[in-house]
């Protein structure tokens, strides 16, 4: 089945076609959810909510119009809803259970996992707009002009936000690298 055929069928209520549409767009849906929330756990809930909304509202999609902007709006609305719901009902995080000392063979994997967590934590401290710009320019490799076009803002605004975001992100990431100590050694 072609993508456009699946979309048309999905708007008419064909669940199997909609499932294929979801499969095709899943990486993008997950990425939007992560960029919008900056938190892996919240992003999973947003993906769940986005799927519910997709099932409920796909009949509203006009196949004559581009699908990705429509889908992105749906995911971002799901993210806004989820963040608002969490603000109303804050979840108290359970303390992490004490872990036994890792086996030597697991050290490398755990280091990588910790580094990934730290990187995502730093990403989560940026504003949603900054995350969007960092994602488009630094992670996906768009030029500031291309990102500006996609976000419907000026290239100057993209550059300004990008600099602020990089500064904030690297300041957090560099905490581990202890740049002050490095500089003292210089």
């Amino acid at each position: 089945m072609s993508a456009s055929s699946d979309l048309r069928r999905a708007t008419r209520g064909d669940r199997a076609a909609l499932r294929r549409v979801v499969q095709r767009h899943l990486p993008q849906i997950r990425r939007w959810a992560l960029v919008a929330t900056g938190d892996v756990g919240v992003a999973e809930d947003v993906v769940q909510e986005a799927l519910i909304r997709l099932l409920r509202f796909v009949h509203r999609y006009d196949p004559q119009r581009p699908f990705e902007p429509w889908l992105k709006t749906l995911v971002l609305n799901a993210a806004r809803g989820e963040l608002a719901r969490r603000a109303r009902n804050p979840v108290v995080a359970e303390p992490e259970p004490e872990r036994a000392a890792p086996e030597a063979s697991l050290d490398r994997q755990l280091d990588l996992a910790r580094a990934a967590t730290r990187a995502l934590d730093a990403f989560g401290y940026l504003s949603p707009r900054q995350r969007e710009i960092v994602d488009l320019v630094d992670l996906q490799g768009l030029s500031p002009a291309e990102a500006a076009q996609q976000l419907q803002i000026t290239p100057g605004a993209v550059r300004g936000q990008l600099f602020q975001a990089r500064r904030a992100l690297r300041a957090r990431l560099a905490e581990g690298a202890d740049p002050v100590a490095l500089l003292r050694e210089a």
Binding site: V22, L26, V35, A174
Partner: protein, 264 residues
Amino acid sequence: MTCEDVREQLLEASSDFGDLAGHLAGCPSCAALAAAIRAEEQQLIRAVEEFSMSTALIDAQWAEAERRVGRLGGAWRAVHTWLLAAAVVAAILVAGLSGGGRGPVQPPVALMPPPPVLELRERAEAFSEVKALAPVAAGTSREEEDVLLENALKAAAASLQALEDQAVAVAKDEGTDPRWVLEARMALAAGYAKMAQVIADFPFPSYLTEAQHEVYEMAIEDRVFVQRSKAAKAYGAAATYAEKHGLDATEAKRQQQTLLEGLR
């Protein structure tokens, strides 16, 4: 260039650090910092990619989505007998309107508004002050809560109805200056958009179960969508009217575009 300068620039530069290459080549400390930053950024790229590409949960998430949407279908029948959801529908159907937030566009002051326009402004002002009901106090009975919510919704709908009646009266009078007609159209569109917001902001009945809460939320979302669509159409009609009569359509178009973006 000092190490301090380089450290500052490392925080902002693109990750190829091209302009700083000369310093980095001769300064192990700054080079180490640059390498650490680059490595961390690579880690972030990998982490985001891994999250995006993960399909581990999709089957479970899809099944859960189908289950919850399926439950919605069954639950709708219960909603039809449900006083508050029905009250929302009834209030809106009676009013025949939706929501927005801004007051009417003011024409040049040199043009004295006729009495119907002054009345329109008063009604627009009154409706703009309508607020969603505050959450009910603890200890309120279910029956009392139903009455409070229903009355608040009916009051909002009545206020909007009064605004609509006056806007139609101004617009239908053939002798009215087009600027006043445009003001009436804009006030009506703003009223529709405001009503959508009122509905969206209304507190949920406190006694709902989790499943009922979800159904109620979806019902409200659907109503808000319909009301915002009406508001977008009304702004579109105001823009067309303005252009036809040589008036400024900018604000009407801007409001319509904002609403349409929210609806996509």
